[in-house]
Assembly symmetry: C2
Homo-oligomer: 264 residues x 2
């Protein structure tokens, strides 16, 4: 028996999120189905991040146990041969038998992308949130700094969750603005909110994005974000920004936590 | 009566190209249908570039004549309200009544994108051609320089065309390589072949891309491109690279050719 870790990239547009559910196809389900097919026994992966419907990933993580004789590092090739084109395993390796991707310390990086222009760009529409009114990127940057550090992020957590401890640490938030050439506009921009932290509450990145958008529209000043944080009330923050703009970029574990042999 | 020019961006994935045809939905058809709906009379656009099935655009151009009282610059807003999400008009303006987008001098810019990595990136798959074997970008750059200038591009023209004059001028070809972060790979790259010229033969950019890929794989040296050009034989060049990698970036006309009033 061995435990294998997969790093998985997907275009979430056509999926009802990560976690298996009765109402539609999910990423977890297509992975389980394909693993079961190639190993010949029922397999159920354990995911690191149960991304929502429509959210994308470049490096989500999951593990599974198998007695298959396929070498751990060959699972990426074996799986990709049968997976749909919008789900691609980027890497596979053996990990410690007791490594659990949700019960170990880690850093996660997410990006929330906003296309800010007069008209949408059809080549960006699946992977960004379109906004017509011009955003003040500098104000968004100032506002973001109030969120860096260890805080109670209760105001930035969906009420549809049972989680008790809402304290998390945000290591960094960058707000990047890239000019985009269009057929007829000077100041179109792709704005990326890149956020790294030790864990995120349900909808936390999308509520942060929604709140920074309000600041970018001058609906309230950057300092207001400190007040929103102190309120510990979901109603104080901005709305949850749409799923299509969000991509889970990577999850980094301590090598000593997952490295095969570290348990010996 | 006025002539209106549109600059149109589209994700070509779901379309059978630009030009109306019996076997599937096209970009021209969705534009004609929506223009007919909002003006109340039958409209047929004249396109600048009849892109193939699966090819994308950021700035294709077309014109149409109308007696509608909608101001020319408002057509972009009026059309976008009813167009599918993957076809977006970026700009509309009135042009000279005799301006024809295929019978005027212009410069066109195309980009052909290649994702060169161990595994595909699902977020790039619709807009790039995936290649696993590593490409020598420097060799591709050297090869590209043989194509710059005025040449008979008969070797780089599909045999499925009746065109007689196969001389065109390529103003520039750049081969750009951008490192891409992946969950598990150091040297993944997005390679963009950016080409500007005064007109392109049927499949010319895709045959150039296919030929530069052969050079990138060291199947023949960069100098071979001069021999291929001199052969004036389609069989001498590389294969036609897939449509998904190709995007028509922009078409630039002389302002005096299309500016309303220039005919007076």
């Amino acid at each position: 028996m061995k435990r294998v870790m997969l790093r998985v990239a997907y275009d979430g547009t056509e999926y009802c999120g990560w976690q298996v559910q009765p109402n539609g196809i999910t990423i977890e389900e297509v992975l389980n189905r394909q693993l079961t097919r190639i190993t010949g026994t029922e397999v159920a992966v354990i995911g690191a991040s149960r991304t929502d419907s429509g959210v994308h990933a470049k490096g989500n993580v999951c593990v599974f146990d198998t007695e298959s004789r396929i070498p751990a590092e060959k699972f990426a090739f074996a799986l990709n041969a049968g997976l749909p084109q919008d789900v691609v395993v980027q890497n596979s390796c053996e990990v410690a038998a007791d490594f659990h991707p949700r019960h170990c310390d880690c850093h996660k990086t997410y990006e929330y992308r906003i296309y800010n222009a007069t008209f949408p760009d059809p080549l960006l529409r699946r992977y960004s949130h379109f906004l017509y009114h011009k955003l003040d990127v500098e104000a968004m940057r100032q506002a973001a700094q109030y969120l860096v550090g260890e805080h109670d992020f209760k105001s930035f957590c969906s009420v549809n969750t049972q989680v008790k401890d809402t304290v998390r640490r945000v290591n960094s938030i960058e707000v990047l603005a890239e000019p985009r050439q269009t057929a007829a506009e000077e100041d179109a921009k792709l704005i990326t909110i890149r956020i790294n932290g030790n864990g995120f509450l349900y909808n936390m990145v999308r509520i942060i994005a929604g709140t920074l958008i309000q600041v970018g529209f001058h609906r309230y000043p950057p300092e207001q974000v400190a007040t929103i944080l102190a309120a510990k009330d979901r109603a104080a923050a901005g709305e949850t920004a749409p799923a299509c703009g969000l991509t889970l970029i990577e999850i980094c574990y301590q090598e000593s936590d997952y490295r095969k042999g570290s348990e010996e």
